[in-house]
Symmetry: C2
Amino acid sequence: MLDYALLDALAAVVRHGSFERAARELNVTPSAISQRVKLLEERVGSVLVKRGTPCVATTSGALLCRHTERVQLLEAELAGPLPALPGASLQAWPTLRVAVNDDSVGTWFIDAIAGFCTQREMRLDLVIDDQDHTAQLIRDGSVQGAVTTQAEPVQGCRSTRLGRMRYLAVCTPVFHARHFADGVSRETLRRAPCVDFNPKDELQKRFMRKITRADIDPPKHWIPHVAGFLRACVTGLGWGMCPERMVAPHLERGELIDMLPGRHLDVDLYWQSWRLSIGWLDEFGLALRKQAAQLLD
Amino acid sequence: MLDYALLDALAAVVRHGSFERAARELNVTPSAISQRVKLLEERVGSVLVKRGTPCVATTSGALLCRHTERVQLLEAELAGPLPALPGASLQAWPTLRVAVNDDSVGTWFIDAIAGFCTQREMRLDLVIDDQDHTAQLIRDGSVQGAVTTQAEPVQGCRSTRLGRMRYLAVCTPVFHARHFADGVSRETLRRAPCVDFNPKDELQKRFMRKITRADIDPPKHWIPHVAGFLRACVTGLGWGMCPERMVAPHLERGELIDMLPGRHLDVDLYWQSWRLSIGWLDEFGLALRKQAAQLLD
């Protein structure tokens, strides 16, 4: 069998992005971690971690991490029938490492999974990324499951639909009077600043293309923060696409207006997770789907 | 003089993290961007960009980017007295690239700067990082200013105090009854799950050390998301340190309780920015300080 003391060290370095933090988690010195990873690299015959800030797995390193985390999950499952099994901490609080998009975490995701994690005593380790990019994280094995826009199953995973998030184009009444008094058109959209979450965020662009059938490149604020994005719209920095459920109270109070009622963007969300038949990963998926049915459209 | 068409391409690649997106911003083909960066690398005699996802500047690359952005800022300032100067887009919407900690963006920062950016027609490009790490971003030149916990000025920068954020240890009443019925002690803290923002977040650890004079390592959820972090506390996943202003309504409604009233952590925040005497960078600092005085303690 493989040497799991070495693999555990590797997985901790990649999970934490640093030898120091991995050492702290495993209660050993950083030099012990470094020796274990080096030894493993010698045995495998290739570099497994790119040293840097943060430390990142190479392709071979990622494969080994993925394998190790699966074994850890399977081990942790033994804690149910064999609670007295030594090996301790991981079993007491197994880790669910999941990739989720920012807007889901900002709206429905935590509420959907809190009960399950509390009951099962599972640690939640969220990786946040754009909804169009979370599938990549499950593909390279760095998470066990992902909330994603990709319907087609990633290899080795199963995919189920969670529901739909509706996005509205919103801005303040003052912003609207200043920039869109002549209507929402190619010309006015070109000059009005919009808010983008980050360079990966294509929602504003997609909306403009849908409305005008043109690629428009307005001045853009970049606010990679859900609450900050919403505040940027509410304070009149720019217009932006916000989840309908998030802006409902602001629309009601008249702080924001729907720029083009009826012209929304819908984003379908899917849950993809490893096809491993790990009991609680399956049960987590079930619980998530059930809650999502209530919290999403 | 240096060839600024090449430098502009380099800075765009580093800003966007990708040749494709840089090409889109500068309205040229990706291969044109790639040629410009390569030519610059040949002239300088060293690699300037580590190709990857995302593309990252090398040390020399970062120095050139920093220089280029400073020149762009100085050029943009000319737009005031010389509005008809050709060179266009950057002048119309100069970019303020600023590093801010998550909790500031989630509470006071956007409200503090929205008016200034709207009046001056400045694009905001936020880089979000932990408050103890934003100083690094200004040190390596990737941002023009930073909200940071570091009081001592970074080389080439000036530092001014913005105010204080107060953090309270909070959890739900149910969580408290389950985990802290016997008091908040070493023993109970060791078993109660807490919420950490990410591995860099030391607030929970610092609080436990303050209370117990011991290093305690409880099960930790990682929720790298301000709204998600708060929801994780409100839904009873764990206890966590939250900004007082953010949890005030939850405390009032009884959804959360202050675990140890009077035992908070205070974090002093500073604004550090380039000592360049760029008019609006100075004015931005002034506006920020003035607003922060009202929005922080």
